[in-house]
């Protein structure tokens, strides 16, 4: 390692404890090294600040561009009329296409999926003390699943928030991302109570159906159907019958 690389590694804290001790000894014994180290440190800070300022300029530019996105003016009548006509044709086509092209799994999903309600933090009007949990459920209740997902994601690392993984999964299902939702439901622990693991299994099954993974979906449904006394047992049994 060349001398400058050694100093760089020292300033980055990358030296092994033994090398660091030797290097500090060298600094003690040969004061000229202290001057070299200080020069190096100053240069490192100056280059770092210069680079950061370039990145910040780039980020500011992004902010400006985002603010400056021109909004559609929509002042031209002819454009509106032709727009409406085009939309009508597209919508009619889309309706036919979706109902004809839905996979068997998607049809099951559509018939059985219901948004799991907020049973954790009912939104209380006029409550001034906001916290992450209430923000997340407020967004959830307002069907702003994108925002709720961000908040639940952050919430799942807080203590006593086992439910966050589950609700994050629901948000992902609502946003049409079953592939992200399924692993979250599978993470819900066996001893979870609100909501419990079987409820999570039910939603994992629905995620599989949305992806048209019928085999995995059926397995999960059967597990729910076998759980005596569970509120979802009857529904699961009914679906299990259909899937036979």
């Amino acid at each position: 390692m060349d001398q400058e690389e050694l100093i760089n590694a020292y300033l980055e804290g990358k030296l092994s404890p033994e090398d660091q001790r030797l290097f500090e000894q060298l600094l003690e014994n040969q004061p000229e090294y202290k001057t070299i180290l200080e020069e190096h440190r100053q240069l490192k800070i100056a280059v770092t600040l210069e680079e950061r300022s370039k990145i910040k300029d780039f980020l500011e530019e992004l902010d400006q561009k985002e603010k400056g996105i021109p909004k559609s003016k929509g002042g031209l009548r002819s454009w509106i009329y032709s727009g409406i006509a085009a939309c009508a044709i597209v919508l009619a086509g889309l309706f036919l296409w979706t109902s004809l092209s839905m996979t068997p799994g998607e049809k099951i999903y559509k018939s059985y999926y219901e948004t799991y309600p907020n049973l954790i933090a009912p939104t209380v009007r006029g409550e001034s003390q906001a916290n992450l949990e209430s923000d997340a459920f407020l967004a959830f209740d307002n069907k702003d699943y994108e925002k709720a997902a961000v908040l639940f994601e952050n919430l799942q690392h807080e203590p006593d928030s086992d439910y966050a993984v589950f609700y994050l999964g629901i948000c992902q299902l609502e946003l049409g991302r079953p592939e992200k939702a399924i692993p979250l439901f599978l993470k819900v622990r066996e001893d979870a109570s609100n909501p419990d693991q079987i409820t999570a299994t039910w939603y994992a099954a629905l995620g599989y159906f949305q992806l048209n993974k019928l085999e995995e979906g059926t397995q999960a449904v059967n597990k729910v159907a076998r759980t005596e006394g569970h509120p979802l047992q009857a529904k699961a049994q009914e679906l299990a019958e259909i899937l036979k």
Partner: protein
């Protein structure tokens, strides 16, 4: 390789498109999250930008080999720490937990940025040629070693790079001494 790892790889390579994507993706979420601690939007904005820079720097320096959490969670944790630090400077009483500090290797150099010698040095760095600027950037900012830089910049040998780097530093010193 999943999306997160791919994004980290691209960040390591300094890819601006990935930086842009990550920055815009988590911006609104962070603002929302940070408003619980302060209503000062300027401070929130700064903390978020610094968190983005920390993510990029630590990826480039190999300090993030793999993230146990998502990129968003990492940004929120770093941003929260940086926000608390700047709020603390204004004597607001907030607890910065040790756990938070341990996970975040980021030095903001606020005091140093005001030092005259650093300011002078920054000014003179801008006057160097593009090649010198790139070498110094890779060496001092990204903490790459000379072998890596030689390979990245297409030098035929480490020695050629070494003498170019010495020339760059000599030029820098000369311009500093002239003023």
């Amino acid at each position: 390789m999943d999306v997160k790892e791919k994004q980290l790889e691209l960040l390591k390579a300094g890819d601006r498109d990935t930086l842009k994507q990550i920055y815009l993706e988590h911006k609104n979420g962070f603002q929302l999250f940070a408003k619980r601690y302060t209503s000062d939007e300027g401070q929130i904005h700064n903390a978020y930008q610094d968190a983005i820079i920390a993510l990029m720097e630590n990826a480039q320096k190999g300090k993030i080999q793999s993230l146990s959490s998502t990129i968003g969670t990492y940004l929120f944790a770093v941003g929260k720490y940086l926000l608390f630090k700047s709020l603390k400077k204004q004597n607001q009483h907030l607890e910065i937990t040790e756990e938070l500090i341990d996970t975040i290797p980021f030095e903001s150099f606020d005091d140093e940025s005001k030092e005259e010698s650093i300011r002078h040095l920054r000014q003179k760095l801008k006057e160097l040629g593009p090649k010198c600027q790139e070498i110094l950037q890779l060496f001092y900012y990204q903490s790459k070693n000379l072998d890596e830089i030689a390979k990245l910049m297409g030098y035929e040998s480490k020695d050629v790079l070494k003498s170019t780097k010495s020339r760059c530093l000599k030029n820098l010193k000369d311009t500093l001494n002239r003023t």
